[in-house]
């Protein structure tokens, strides 16, 4: 299976994603430069990785969202292609309007770099089908602008479509102290209506090797989804 990983000036997690997709998920991985406008039809997955694209000038992800390669990513997502945005990649997908909402400065004003617990809110997706509802996984975060803000003033998760992961404590409780950036409704990762586009602030690619193995659940979900799709075709 083939995956494309996008590199912008200032991306710094692209190599980690390439390594994880190659070594763990056994994808044939191509990296694409932000100024390219390649046909993406041959890929089963496109990943927009973390970093500080274009120096995060103006707003995190705002300039990257307008880059030539993103025109193609929008087209690809519109055709149902699987697009994953991690950290800065999540910010870029929101700025590109491929995902709802926006990411604002962490409530604490501090850059947060630590492991966090995440509760799985929906398992009927390409990204989480190998997880259990309510299961708690642990991924690291490293961001300054990770406070998710919904487009609607929602009081409950039931009002927000597509929430796949929320910040929680080790027992799966969405306590304020377990929310590292003040995200609305503790939202850590959200997908679009069709579930083919998913963005999250935590880094599954950094939890697939030495420190935590929980990232594997996400990659295994993706592989399971793609294999099932391939089987049906």
């Amino acid at each position: 299976m083939k995956a494309a990983v996008i590199t912008f000036p200032g991306s710094n997690c692209d190599d980690d994603v390439v390594y994880t997709l190659r070594e763990f998920a056994k994808f044939d991985v191509t990296t694409l430069w932000h100024q390219e406008r390649p046909a993406l039809g041959e890929f089963q997955l496109v990943v927009v990785p973390g970093g500080f694209s274009y120096g995060d000038y103006l707003r995190s992800g705002a300039v990257a969202a307008l880059s030539p390669v993103m025109e193609k990513v929008k087209e690809y997502a519109g055709n149902g292609g699987l697009v994953l945005g991690i950290c800065n990649g999540f910010q870029i997908l929101c700025e590109a309007r491929l995902l709802p909402g926006a990411l604002a400065k962490n409530e604490s004003s501090k850059f947060q770099c630590k492991d966090v617990y995440l509760k799985v809110e929906d398992t009927n997706t390409p990204w989480t089908n190998q997880m259990k509802p309510g299961e708690v996984v642990q991924y690291p975060i490293a961001h300054g602008d990770g406070r998710y803000v919904c487009e609607i003033d929602s009081k409950s998760l039931a009002d927000v479509d597509g929430v796949l992961l929320t910040y929680c404590d080790a027992k799966g409780k969405n306590l304020p102290e377990a929310n590292p950036n003040g995200s609305q409704l503790a939202i850590a990762g959200i997908s679009n209506k069709a579930r083919n586009v998913f963005g999250l602030m935590p880094h599954p690619e950094r939890a697939t090797d030495l420190r935590s193995q929980h990232g594997k659940k996400l990659w295994n979900s993706l592989l399971s989804h793609l294999n099932a799709k391939g089987g049906n075709a």
């Binding site: 103006l58 705002a62 604002a104 004003s109």
Partner: protein, 82 residues
């Protein structure tokens, strides 16, 4: 013409930088400080003669790039003639 765009987190979106600035000012002894907001200013020079067209163009720039309507509000003003 010259235009100035001012961008702030919109009402209801917590501004951690503004909060920190207000706290620091109070710590310096400015006891009357109630709140502070930190935003961005973008000054733009345009090859344009008409105030109305300039403002319309800059408003469009805000919608397309300079501000994110989910979390930010913006104000545009003309600050210099052609």
């Amino acid at each position: 013409m010259k235009a100035r765009v001012t961008i702030f987190y919109k009402e209801g979106v917590f501004d951690p930088q503004g909060n920190t600035v207000a706290e620091s000012l109070r710590r310096l002894g400015f006891k009357t400080v109630q709140s502070a907001r930190v935003g961005k200013v973008v000054d733009i020079e345009l090859d344009s003669q008409h105030e109305k067209d300039t403002k319309a163009a800059v408003d469009k720039m805000c919608e397309k790039l300079l501000a994110n309507p989910v979390i930010e509000s913006f104000k545009t003003e003309i600050i210099g003639g052609a």
